[in-house]
């Protein structure tokens, strides 16, 4: 009997530890309290972060004030994710959220109700966003139109449909902070913040392991396209030999050095990056040029 009691205790401890290890994280009290939100600055954070590219309806054209109704499908090895409504609608969207709730969602991937989000939402990158940028982004998104479109539930099978399990995934696989070591050059540092934090370049340009975690030792070395067709290119200097001027031109007009032009998702990225100040595109180019060269697999 004693052995069963012992095993029961172990199981209880394991369950307790599991519950603890999968618990959603919280932000420190007073998050963003010292910052005066600036919606105009938030518009640039919004563009750099590419929010509209995923959260506008699939058939929507680019707009001055995008309607973030959601609905775009993201097929993956784990099921199909659907971008939710993050418009300012208080019921269907996120118009009823406080700044701390918004910040917890964006930087920690946790809903106001305490549920983990799937990492199709790139909070692993957004965790690097400064408090001030998050507050500005929040202020800007409040100014965008509301949509009452109800978010479509994700189509994800067992065991990935148990969101609590994502707590363990986050602990085990999310890089904490930046991947590139602190650069001496402030321009590269700004580029690192934009690329690794806001623009979340690695989410597509870095390969993932069997459970969908980014392989940071293959940082930006290219990856299979989740759509199943083609590859997302290696953008480290081992494969991409564009000058920084070429990169800035590409981020501005979408033209490659041989005057091909960006297509697919990258065309949307260009639409976003072209709205940034020239200095930010130069910083991104400096970051890409400073990436450690990693040959394509």
């Amino acid at each position: 009997m004693a052995i069963w009691r012992g095993l029961g205790l172990v199981a209880l401890c394991a369950a307790g530890a599991g519950w603890f290890l999968t618990a959603p994280a919280s932000l420190p009290d007073g998050y963003g309290a010292t910052h005066t939100p600036d919606p105009e600055a938030g518009q640039l954070v919004f563009a750099a972060s590419g929010c509209a590219s995923c959260h506008t309806a699939p058939e929507a054209e680019a707009a001055e004030a995008p309607v973030l109704a959601g609905g775009l499908a993201f097929p993956s090895d784990f099921g199909t994710f659907y971008a939710p409504n993050i418009s300012s609608d208080p019921a269907a969207g996120i118009g009823g959220w406080s700044l701390p709730e918004f910040a917890r969602a964006v930087t920690l991937g946790v809903s106001p109700g305490g549920a983990h989000y799937y990492p199709a939402f790139p909070y692993g990158s957004y965790q690097n966003m400064t408090d001030g940028d998050v507050a500005d982004l929040y202020a800007y998104m409040q100014t965008l139109p509301a949509s009452d479109t109800v978010s479509r539930p994700h189509d994800v099978g067992f065991p990935f449909n148990i969101r609590r399990g994502l707590g363990l995934w986050k602990r085990a696989f999310l890089p904490s902070g930046f991947v590139m070591p602190d650069p001496d050059d402030p321009v590269v540092a700004r580029g690192r913040y934009l690329a690794e934090g806001l623009a979340h370049c690695a989410e597509c340009h870095t390969p993932r392991n069997a459970v969908g975690a980014l392989q940071t030792d293959q940082w930006m070395a290219g990856a299979p396209n989740p759509s199943g067709k083609g590859r997302i290119p290696n953008i480290t200097p081992a494969a991409l030999q564009w000058s920084q001027g070429d990169l800035v031109e590409y981020f501005t007009s979408g033209f490659t050095p041989d005057y091909d032009s960006a297509g697919g998702e990258m065309a949307e990225v260009i639409e976003n990056l072209s709205q940034l100040p020239e200095a930010d595109r130069e910083a991104l180019a400096a970051y890409v040029a400073a990436l450690p060269p990693i040959p394509s697999p």
Partner: protein, 156 residues
Amino acid sequence: MTRLFGLTLAACTVAVAAFAGSHANPALKGAVDARNAQMSMIGYHTGLLGGMAKGDVPYDAATATAAAENLAAAAAMNRAVLWIEGTEQGAVEGSRAKPEIWSDAAGFEEKAMMLEAATAAMVTAAGTDLDALRAAMGDVGASCGACHKAYRGPRN
């Protein structure tokens, strides 16, 4: 006009499909090769204009006009015999055409007309002065990007 174009396109599609039926792959491959050659023509001439726009090459009205005229001609090629059904990415080697080109033919046509309009405007702009050329470059680039975003698949 649109209706007439649609009928012509349908007739051509049937004719080409019949041809493709007897000759299977070569006809489709030929269309894809021709499209890729057309894209090379567009890229080459856009590059001549882009070099001047960026200041890498000094502006010259005659060269710019020649480049813009060829660009506009390449952009305005009749799509009925180039964009034939059955030539999407995966079906024919070398193709990066998305199936949406045929399932959303009106949308594709709209983007193609954007390119025709932008390159026609470039002919005038290129011969005017460098500022006009630079301004016209924006619409050319936007039309390339708009179509590639919606209708071109990823590189293999």
